[in-house]
Amino acid sequence: MTELERALVALGRELDIPAGPDLRSRVRERIERKPRRRRAVVLAVALLTALGIALAVPPARSAILRFFHIGSVTIERVETLPHAQERSLVAGLGPPLSLREAEKIAGVALVLNAPRPRRFYAQPGLIATLLHYRGTSVLLAELQGDQMGLTKKFAAPGTTVEPAPIGSFGLWLEGGKHVLMWSAASGEIRQMERRLAGNVLIWAEGNRTYRLEGGLNMGQMVELGRQITR
């Protein structure tokens, strides 16, 4: 080892690197959740199969597709939409924040392989930002794990739902307006505004659920989604 290399080793001992936390209990808690995750995956695969059948046989759609889960998002077909208003894409997400502030509140590091906007929004377990793509605004929201849930209610046949080729699996909602609600993992509905939502792409990848909403078609939205997680 040269003198410079020894100096670097010495420098390493002088660095302000905090002692790491004891991760055992948190890791254990997470890995012991695995059986439930596995069941959830089996359920999701079964539902995906059911969805495929439903979409292939139009008369079966309304009979089979009642609800669907992707990661932290639940999509539910209802006869009548709950009352909701047209509101801005970021309504209910809180004030605009810096990325650092948003990640701190969300507890989620944003994944975004694209030029970064300057404003971000956060709720515990969720981070969001507005992107500008192909001349329109698109809301990107990312949810980590299953700490928080989004519920989307739609009324058939106004809204079409179909599989989207992105992530481990994805869904595309287009057409009639649907209602977006936010809920905590406990089931408690958070104090957020319900609002009507437009075209939406939702997909799961790893332990994260992504949601894009805006006035793009499915091809454009999938293109944007793939760019984000590239």
Partner: protein, 181 residues
């Protein structure tokens, strides 16, 4: 009292779903996992998340772990990848700093041979030079000398050929020599 389990025993048990065995592996490697994540991500919060997520992902991937292979480089590859994703997602460059003087070990004990090797000015200059290195070179130097990984482990952690690690290391040392000499 039974003999302490060695790592391959623990891995074998963990692969069969024994979370207690895996907890022992976490205990054994969490320090170096956190330090690896810290020098890449540049802050404690991201490093903690990266290390934690890395351990969880490694647990899920244990079925693909090659029996008999060393666990540490395999684990650090997962952790380093998590840390790089976080650094990319924030768009921030990792920047290492020296401990404040008051936090250094005090008392009458003589400084260690390594500590006495560097004057305060030289430490500051050398660290500034490390922080100014291109990201790919800085990461190799940090993992090699600040975390204490071998070149082989650095290559594994960064998913790079060992030759690439050697050449990046050589280029970085050449640049640093100018600050040190």
């Amino acid at each position: 009292m039974g003999r302490p389990l060695d790592e391959s025993d623990l891995i074998g048990r963990a692969r069969r779903g024994d979370t207690h065995a895996y907890e022992e592996l976490v205990h054994a490697h969490q320090g170096i996992a956190f330090r690896t994540a810290y020098v890449i991500a540049g802050n404690a919060a991201d490093a903690e998340d990266a290390a934690q997520d890395g351990f969880v992902k490694a647990w899920r991937a244990l079925g693909r772990f090659r029996e008999g292979a060393p666990f540490r480089p395999w684990l650090l590859q997962i952790v380093a990848n998590e840390a790089r994703n976080r650094r990319r997602s924030t768009g921030r460059r990792a920047h290492l700093a020296l401990r404040a003087a008051t936090e250094q070990p005090s008392g009458d004990a003589a400084p260690s041979p390594e500590a006495s090797l560097l004057s305060a000015e030289l430490r500051t200059a050398l660290l500034a030079a490390v922080n100014d290195l291109p990201e790919d070179q800085r990461t190799v130097i940090a993992l090699r000398f600040f975390v204490g990984l071998s070149e082989h482990e650095v290559a594994e952690a960064l998913s790079l050929p060992e030759g690439t690690v050697k050449s990046r290391s050589a280029r970085a040392l050449e640049r640093l020599r100018a600050s040190y000499d």
